[in-house]
Amino acid sequence: MSDKEKNTGGSKMNRRDVIKGLATVPVLGAMAYGTWRKTRQDHIRSHKLAKELNMSSENLEYTPYKHDGDTLRIGIIGFGIRGTQLMKAAGFAPPKTVQGWKDDAAKDSNNKRYSDFLEQDDLNIRITGVCDLFDVHAEDGLSAAANIGRESSDGKMGPAAKRYRNYREMLDSDEIDAVIIASPDHWHAQMTIDAAKAGKHVYAEKGFSLTMDETYLIRDAVKSSGIVYQLGHQGRQTESYIKAKEAIDKKLIGKINLIEVCTNRNSPNGAWVYDIHPDANEQTVDWTQFEEPCPVKHPWSPERFFRWRCWWDYGTGLSGDLLTHEFDAINQILGMGIPASASASGGVYFYKDKAKGHYVNEIREVPDVWNAVLEYPDQDFSILYSATLASNQDRGKTIMGHDGSLKLGNSLTIYADRESTRYKEKIESGLIDPELPIYTYIPGRKNVDTVASATEQYFASRGLLYTYRGGRRVDTTHLHIAEWIQSIREGTQPSCNIDQAFEEGVAAAMGIKAHRENRTIFWDKDTEQIV
């Protein structure tokens, strides 16, 4: 090749032709060499890290609970917002609701609610009783209970469930083996105690109880009856928590000294300012029964009936409602139990304006911004809970230790601390970079290894990846109910049993008491009394 090159299309192939034809082939060799070097380096880092961290590499596969044997007969107490969700998780929804999901799916192929519901495991249960004090909700509950085939409108319905106007009649019935309690918090204790006495198994929503005194009574009743009790913290089924426990047990973040957990919401619904049903009136609602546990009775108030979480007479505020989810998540991982002391403060800072349509007659009592500190001097750490119902800033959960910190959401990320003692040499040698995670667990990822690519982490953190477990999307509430049903069948203890529930209940009650009495509340673990 001199000044000009011409493609002359000759027929003879000479040495010059071969050189020109193959001139760029060595580039492939360079690519192979570079790829080999890089892969080997990544592999060595990953392998060394894996050896250092010693985390199990198996993924948590979706294993359906076993539900063979006789069909269990369940009664639902309370078919409001949460009751509806629990029934759906148990496999029952009103045909009109199913029709709505079906229509949504027809309009938008990404809307998987309908197919997810159809694919949800059959728990081999029937809903034989429905109890709700509001006629409209009770009717909806009955239509869900009869929908045994998960049919949409015009589908074939199964046998009708019985409506009970008082839960005590339901507990007296021979047609009921177990109850799901999704009533307001002020009823949880009495209903659970009565159910336990009647020998009915209980799945109860949080908060565990309304008051401190009730916590002991519930525990005694459940323990003496031998029923299977499960408190509704579906977070128990979250895979990343299970992996987090392993990481903590293997001391990956060293000596834990501070835990920060948060709640952030920013909508009237999230702040419990729910819609008031237009058909609710003194004829359609049994207000007297609703108020039965209240020492001081109130006149009929649709606002209090639907937005009961906003008043201390019925609800437990951020402590019982949302701190408890965080507490139970951390208790599942650390098993730290009841705090030695609790202090709390907060107020009604955002939802305080009648003029803005936040309220009809009464402004809420329970804070919408609230913070609590739980102390564990025996275990040398504090738990800091911080909540607002008027900002969506996502803060997640962080467990802080001397050697590293663990960030927890749907995925789990562990960072080494730059001043860590355990990782000192590894950080100095460059094997560990404190800026990069030393361990990442993304649920549903085909393989578990220590280093996930940046792309994967970005997508996963935004919920764009791996929303499926074992190839299917699974609702944790469904798993939690399924676990309870299996425990009843096998006579075993579910994950959020009465002992776990009692710890949650006492912690929440301490938080409420600390706030309402504006003082630090202490727990004497020997006498099991609040001081």
Partner: protein, 158 residues
């Protein structure tokens, strides 16, 4: 086809450009092949713009998703290798343009959208996918593979 004559500098610059694009595509393919967790799911779900619905539908169908994953991995590898060694280069370059067009259409740099994956630069309408696509078009218009590349053996046989 009419023969094109190049200066030495023109020829080697075009060859280097061709090889560089090939290198990029080949390595993208190899990385995906070596990562057992790789899937186009996240990228497709992150699509925005006019064809968002189409890409979401692809992600929503397990069979289509598997086909897309396969095409991406092996498409990138074969296109990249083809451009580097200059074998079936024209087919490789056209395929590369089609693949890049998919990337561009699923993640267009249009006003008012942002993606889960942050970019390392700033783009308005024109982004690196589009530039790489246009560059491949130039590569097609200047068929250096007939001189430097294994296609030389095929073209010179006739």
């Amino acid at each position: 086809m009419k023969d094109i004559t190049y200066s030495k500098w023109q020829l080697w610059s075009l060859v280097i450009l061709r090889v560089a694009i090939g290198w990029h595509l080949l390595y993208e393919g190899i990385v995906k092949l070596l990562n057992p967790n790789w899937s186009s799911l996240g990228y497709l779900m992150d699509s925005k713009g006019l064809f968002e619905g189409l890409f979401h539908a692809m992600a929503g169908n397990a069979v289509v998703l598997n086909v897309m994953d396969f095409i991406n991995v092996w498409g990138l590898i074969l296109i990249g290798a083809g451009l580097i060694v200059g074998l079936f280069t024209r087919v490789a370059a056209i395929s590369g343009i089609i693949l890049l067009a998919f990337y561009y259409l699923s993640h267009p740099a249009i006003i008012g959208v942002s993606y889960a994956m942050p970019t390392e630069g700033s783009y308005l309408w024109v982004n690196k996918n589009l530039i790489e696509l246009l560059t491949l078009w130039v590569v097609i218009l200047f068929p250096t593979w007939k001189i430097i590349g294994m296609d030389r053996f095929l073209f010179n046989k006739k």
